[in-house]
Amino acid sequence: MSLEFLTLDAPAVARSPMERQARAAGARFEVRDGWNVAVDYGAPEREREICRTAAGWADVSHLAKLELQGDHGLAGVTRRGGAWWCPVSDRRALVLGARGSMPGPDETEPEARVHVVEVTSNFAALTLIGPLAREVVARFCALDLRPQATPVGSLRPGSVARQPGMVLREGEHRFMLLFGWAIGEYMWTVVQDAATHLGGGPVGQSALEGADA
């Protein structure tokens, strides 16, 4: 008996804690890898425009997350096979990415030095993307996200909207906020409030994928 109960492999649909707010904002959902994912908000082109000119936010809580415990050997944040490998401390690291990009047991437990815990639904996540993304985050987070302090590919743990969280800088204008699952609704409210005021809006996976392309 160990940690099977943490595994997300049910035939049921897994849901983000922000799903209801995304729905209220007009999200259209598709089930992807067992998760109900907001694909768009009815206007994909406008969403892409928001990402180019202001700040879009997208619920990416469905990304898989693993916690590595032990000598992970990571010197800094690295990107492997589409997943972010983020050391949080000397003995702890977080791996996150699309389900298919996640490491198998062989990759994470070399010589059994590292133990792995599935923490996908420990952390909800929002991606903020666009030239005003950093400005939006500055409305509720005091972390120094200037490029000289937080270059692309770095992770900053700290207070996000007065709650424990982390910010991963994925690109020049792209930040992923990671926070507790239970504060999902609160975080959506905070981000929506700040981003909308600056001309931003919710965007779906299609817009995010468009930005990646």
């Binding site: 997300l8 804690p17 005091a142 504060i183």
Partner: protein
């Protein structure tokens, strides 16, 4: 209209007329005007009524420093008319005058109240009779204050928000010194933010040369990436964080270095009637003329302690103001006096003003030799009295940052004497306000700030001594200034030291006579420096008056402590966005769908009930109930020595717990007091799953981490609280319900009480714990939070034939009380031990090794606790308040009720209370004092429901 002919540098666009209203009447101005300049141009001289005496007040500084022009704009009180930009259709209203600005009934306090309203009269007058205080308070509150806010605001009327900004260098002050500092630092590669309080950059250059050259400099800065904030007031200095208020935004600027180029504040003079409309600071009058092309008066008298007033006289004369005379407090006037003489303007050396006369505004100024005889007085007719009492360096922010000042007798003010690390000063605030020193001083500060953050090169390094040299030369050639007398003509009428709070020179003298003879005490007693100007206009005058009254030097009197905010700021700006952090379980949406009565429970939003707590409790007894317990803390403790670790942090034993078994645990502090409780399930040899109370989750995670950090045990901790959802299915039909949706054999034989199993439930992998907090057969089901609604729905659906009901916290509290299950934090406090809380069995003093709290618990084990936690049942139907007092036969408090409820299944009121241990026996009768009522209760030491636990184990 008193508009001057068009001239270069004016800020108004005469082609664009702007209409707005003042007290309901339409007024016209031009684009580029401020509310103040437009009203002044339209002939208005009274802008406000004073705080206490309701005297007329008019424009004085025209730069947002004084309290004289505070108005409400579109319902928001607190705006300075002289800096508020004009907008089409804006609604401007006066404050603090009833029925109107022109006739204010409260003016009677000035006419008759002066001698009857000395400092502290509120405290002396309104204390008797005490019962009338509520009435006094109402009246005083009505009379006091600066404007009104709507009593209730369904939504906030104005959006305000925080913005965090990190920077290498923050420059406060957008005058020449600040601009030069920002340019120097940014040229070396620093990330610079510049905050200017006024509507535009330029500082004194705006007055002297209508901002000549400033636009180009600003352009240069912006091109170099400097973030320039205007109308942005730095409010304080908090260990390197400077909040900068700009409109609806509070920028929290976190810079590595700070340059304060906050300039100086032109000081008023104290004389009888020094607050009459038409008494204006020299820079104020010049601003009106040069920036807004408003003629400040037709005939002016100018009184000055320095060349500043002489320059003002020249500038005003230039635009057509007749100068009746200039009084210079110095014996020898500066060079501009010659220019004035050539224009036929009289300059009276060693003269000052002793009185301003007039009704609604100044009509006459009385000049006299400094310290001279009444016979030498010169009354001069005028409609403008321009005064310049020197300049006080604006050191408040620097002082908050740790700088020091010292009295400079030659300048008659307090000058910077010491700077703390991390901070530079530039321009007038640093004693470099003259035209030839202000720019080098700014450049020097900018270079030093950049160097301090590791930027710069050899050239910039070499520039530093050059600039220092230039500043030393400039300092030696500064023109002289006179130190004005503390007050002149005080016998003739009120001389206001503090315009904000209506504190006169006599009030300061009175305060000293009453024994408040230090400047800090005087400040608190008279409220001088505590108004909206925050001491900008009144600190130096009040220190001078205090020195005079106590026969001390100004240096000995010293200054009051500089405190934030440096500018008055709406509370809403400090409040930020009105969004409270709340935790919600993954099933929360379903609770809302079901009409739950949701309330705060710690930092969670939880269903208290679904409309009928009693029926929900009964459903658990008669069929089944389902409660969301996702809020429980959930910690994974893993590693070869996980059992040993738990043995160390709990007083009972866990290393001997068999896999798939569960044990109750109480966490105690090193003082043996109860911190938290929960269940511990051993998943496998090296893995324990620990639950804590909902409110204790964070603290216990920290507690475990704290002890782990200091141990060499091979243990890893993961907090799964938010990632794992949990529900508790309980009731006589619970087994049938769960069996319908899980592949786990839930028969009592296969899955007995206090066992744990993993399996699938409605397709979702789950950990099922067989425990029973509510007293019926129960299964606590844990699963990934992302499947929360699915699991909840499946159980409710499966339970429908058995009468399942969701139940909330309130029925849960009834059910657990029936079992006398302790709620940590509710039934215990920071002094409670497991012995007092009737759980001596949890402490295993016979176990090997040390554990947290061992020595304290050994001590408590030898003693009978003074009080014990027991159950009680009421003799009548009264439900005593939680917190009601248990009293002994003499009526002395002897204990406390911690929980009480009506139990629908028992049909009576039950509860838990701390009572003297000697009484803690079944059947003993106690008295509870509850809000004046004496109630009788009978004690019970065993659970009210299923005392032997047969139901739970069945």
């Amino acid at each position: 209209m008193s508009r001057l002919p068009e001239h270069p540098g004016e800020r108004i666009d005469r082609q664009k007329v702007i209409r707005f209203s003042f007290d309901g009447k339409t007024v016209e101005g031009f684009e580029g005007d401020t509310v103040g300049s437009a009203l002044y141009a339209a002939g208005r001289r009274t802008f406000s009524r004073s705080f206490k005496y309701h005297r007329r007040r008019g424009l004085m500084c025209c730069s947002g420093q004084c309290p004289n022009c505070i108005v409400a704009v579109d319902g928001a009180p607190g705006a300075r008319a002289c800096t508020e930009p004009l907008r089409e259709g804006m609604r401007v209203e006066h404050l603090n005058a009833r029925p109107g600005l022109e006739f204010d009934a409260m003016r009677a306090t000035d006419l008759v109240g002066g001698p009857f309203t000395p400092p502290g009269f509120y405290y002396k007058t309104f204390i008797r009779p005490r019962r009338l205080w509520p009435l006094y308070e109402k009246v005083l509150r009505h009379a006091a204050g600066l404007g009104r806010l709507p009593r209730q605001q369904p939504e906030r009327m104005w959006r305000t928000e925080y913005r965090r900004r990190h920077a290498d260098v923050l420059v406060v002050g957008g005058g020449v010194a600040g601009l030069e500092a920002a340019r120097a630092a940014s040229r070396l590669g620093a990330d610079v933010v510049l905050a200017e309080e006024g509507p535009e950059l330029g500082g004194r250059r705006l007055v002297d040369e209508a901002g000549e050259g400033i636009a180009a400099l600003a352009q240069d800065l912006r091109a170099g990436g400097v973030e320039v904030l205007t109308r942005a007031s730095a409010l304080g200095y908090f260990d390197g964080i400077v909040p900068v208020w700009q409109g609806d935004t509070l920028h929290q600027v976190r810079a590595r270095r700070h340059v304060f180029a906050t300039g100086g504040i032109e000081q008023p003079l104290l004389f009888a009637g020094n607050d009459l409309p038409g008494v204006m600071l020299s820079d104020g009058a010049r601003r009106l003329a040069s920036l807004y092309s408003v003629k400040p008066g037709s005939r002016a008298v100018v009184v000055t302690t320095s060349d500043r007033g002489l320059h003002a006289a020249l500038a005003l004369h230039e635009v057509g103001v007749e100068i009746a005379a200039v009084a210079d407090l110095r014996q020898l006037s500066g060079a501009p006096a010659q220019d004035l003489g050539e224009r036929g303007i009289r300059v009276l050396p060693r003269h000052t003003v002793v009185e301003a006369r007039g009704g609604k505004a100044v009509a006459q100024a009385v000049l006299a030799p400094v310290g001279g005889e009444e016979a030498d007085e010169r009354p001069l007719d005028c409609d403008l009295l321009v005064v310049s009492g020197g300049s006080a360096p604006a050191t408040s922010l620097l002082l908050q940052a740790g700088a020091r000042t010292a009295y400079d007798a030659a300048r008659g003010g307090f000058a910077l004497s010491e700077l703390p690390d991390g901070v530079q000063a530039a321009g007038e605030v640093a004693g470099a306000g003259e035209p030839d020193s202000v720019a080098p001083s700014g450049e020097l500060a900018g270079l030093e700030a950049a160097h301090a953050v590791g930027l710069g090169d050899e050239r910039s390094g070499a520039r530093v001594p050059e600039l220092r040299e230039a500043l030393a030369v400039a300092r030696a050639g500064r023109p002289a200034v006179a130190v004005p007398p503390p007050a002149s003509g005080a016998r003739r009428g009120k001389c206001f030291a503090c315009l904000c709070e209506d504190v006169t020179s006599k009030d300061i003298a009175y305060s000293v006579k009453e024994g408040y003879d230090s400047i800090e005490l005087c400040k608190r007693y008279t409220t001088v420096t505590m108004g909206p100007c925050q001491g900008r206009m009144c600190q130096l005058p009040s220190i001078a008056l205090m020195a005079q009254e106590t026969s001390q030097s100004l240096a000995d009197v010293g200054t009051t402590t500089a405190r934030p905010p440096w500018r008055s700021v709406p509370m809403g700006v400090l409040a930020g966005r009105p969004i409270d952090p709340a935790k919600r379980s993954a099933i929360h949406g379903r609770h809302r769908d079901l009409g739950a009565n949701v309330k705060w429970a710690g930092d969670w939003r939880r269903p208290y009930d679904y409309g009928d707590p009693q029926a929900e409790a009964l459903a658990v007894h008669h069929g089944a109930g389902l409660i969301d317990v996702s809020t429980l803390g959930k910690l994974l403790v893993r590693g070869a020595e996980a059992g040993a670790f738990l043995d160390r942090v709990y007083p009972n034993r866990f290393s001997d717990l068999r896999p798939r078994r569960i044990r109750y645990g109480v966490v105690s502090s090193d003082a043996g007091r109860i911190l938290d409780d929960g269940t511990i399930c051993r998943l496998d040899q090296e893995t324990f799953y620990v639950t804590t109370t909902s409110s204790g989750a964070g603290a216990i995670e920290e507690w475990f981490s704290w002890w782990l950090a200091d141990s060499d045990l091979e243990v890893r901790l993961t907090d799964l609280t938010q990632g794992v959802g949990a529900v508790n299915l309980a009731g006589p039909r619970a087994r049938e319900i769960i069996s319908a949706v899980t592949d786990v054999d839930c028969s009592n034989e296969a899955f007995p009480y206090l066992d744990a199993r993993q399996g699938r439930l409605a397709g979702v992998r789950c950990l099922i714990l067989r425990i029973g907090f509510v007293g019926e057969v129960g299964y606590e089901i844990h699963f990934p939070a992302a499947y929360g609604e699915h699991v909840w729905d499946a159980l409710l659906e499966a339970g429908r034939p058995y009468g399942i009901r969701p139940f909330g916290l309130e029925p849960q509290r009834i059910l657990r009380l029936q079992k006398l299950h302790v709620l940590v934090g509710q039934d215990t406090d920071s002094e409670s031990t497991p012995f007092g809380a009737a759980m001596p069995w949890i402490v295993k003093l016979d176990k090997d090794g040390d554990f947290i709290g061992r020595s304290a618990l050994e001590h408590y084990a030898r003693e009978t606790p003074a009080t014990s936690l027991v159950g009680f049942t009421m003799s009548d139907g009264h439900v005593p308040s939680e917190g009601a007092v248990v009293v002994d036969e003499r009526g002395t408090p002897a204990g406390q009720v911690t929980s009480s409820r009506y139990s629908p299944v028992l049909g009576r009121v039950i509860g838990m209370a701390w009572v003297p241990s000697a009484l803690a026996r079944d059947g003993v009768s106690i008295t509870i004092s509850d809000e004046g009522q004496k109630l009788t209760a009978e004690l019970r030491t065993r659970p009210f429901y299923d005392p032997d636990g047969e139901v739970l184990r069945s």
